[in-house]
């Protein structure tokens, strides 16, 4: 079980970040990722695998002042 943006997700262990983003419907070019508080750069998405207990934040820009 991992947590993505505060929500628990099953069956994500062992997926790469790229695979997780595709499955969850996130647009890679518009986001940034943090796993357990550490920023994962885009070039590491393919090689970085998710582990049980990981807390993942997927963020992007929205309107703001």
């Amino acid at each position: 079980m991992v947590t993505i943006n505060g929500e628990k997700r099953e069956d994500c262990e062992g997926l790469s970040v790229t695979e997780m983003l595709k499955r969850e419907g996130y647009e890679t070019s518009r986001i940034a990722i943090e796993i357990n508080g550490v920023i994962i750069s885009k070039k590491e998405f393919n090689e970085t695998l998710l582990h049980s207990g990981d807390s993942i934040e997927v963020v992007s820009f929205v309107g703001g002042g």
Partner: protein
């Protein structure tokens, strides 16, 4: 008032980047389909954004609505202290926006007044990481000096609480910063009308940041244009040197001689008296 140097190309330089527009536009509180028109009507070359958890499944992303060539200025809204601001700044840079960041750190959620102390800390940390740091701050001269020492590229003092449209409530204290701080002073927050933006520019502000004043207007793109024109007018007035103010009495604008009296005009018109 002396005529300040009239530069042919009055450039606004921020962190080594040149801009010709002195209007930084916020993108909050209005719908995505109005953003492109507003940016164009504003002539804005810098637009602020916030960073939040991403949407899934192909919902529209704001970056698709911002015209090419506009500099993105992510803010650290949501941060309650320097560490949170640093985290948001790093994530924003990772999304891909260049090195600009507007530091916005608020502990108080009622008035949304920025925490000057944490802002100085965040500025120092982020300047060391190569960010072009634009700190939103409460207009305090000592904090402004600390921000300059910490490596800020500009200072952004508030005119009034965020979203209030109350205008230049902190006018006197912004003037102190303009007079004393050797950095671009960008008035940010609380500017509700183009006339207020114009007044700030006449004072010598380097630029204006506005969001709610546009987003709550009846016709958003038209208001963006009104702000643009006001900011240009204020800058021109500043460079021209506004006329002196007489604290007491008046001074005639028309000649004091040659009045028509008793059906005849008196001879010997003199020129205007000062």
């Amino acid at each position: 008032m002396k005529n300040r140097k009239q530069e042919k190309n009055d450039k606004f330089i921020l962190g080594g980047h040149e801009f010709t527009s002195r209007f930084i536009l916020g993108s909050g509180k209005y719908s995505l389909d109005l953003i492109r028109a507003s940016v164009q009507q504003a002539g804005a070359q810098i637009i602020t954004l916030a960073l939040r958890r991403a949407n899934q499944d192909g919902r529209a992303n704001i970056l698709d609505y911002i015209p090419e060539g506009v500099t993105l200025l992510p803010n650290t809204s949501g941060a309650r202290n320097a560490d949170e601001a640093v985290r948001i700044a790093r994530l924003s840079r990772e999304v891909g926006c260049g090195d600009f960041v507007k530091i916005e750190i608020m502990r108080d959620t009622k008035y949304l007044l920025p925490d000057n102390y944490e802002t100085v800390k965040a500025t120092e940390l982020l300047a060391k990481e190569g960010f072009i740091v634009m700190p939103y701050m409460y207009p305090d001269l000592n904090t402004a000096r600390d921000l300059r020492e910490a490596g800020a590229a500009s200072i952004m003092p508030l005119a009034a609480p965020i979203g209030s449209n109350k205008g230049l409530c902190t006018k006197e204290f912004i003037q102190i910063l303009i007079d004393e701080i050797d950095l671009p002073v960008i008035v940010d927050a609380g500017i509700g009308k183009p006339s207020e933006a114009c007044a700030a520019m006449e004072m010598g502000a380097a630029a204006i940041m506005a969001n709610t004043g546009i987003a709550t207007a009846g016709d958003i793109p038209a208001m963006a244009e009104a702000f643009k024109l006001a900011i240009e007018a204020g800058r021109k007035a500043y460079l021209a040197g506004t006329g002196r103010v007489l604290e007491r009495g008046g001074s005639a604008s028309s000649p004091l001689t040659g009045y028509i009296q008793d059906g005849s005009v008196k001879e010997g018109n003199k020129s205007y008296e000062e």
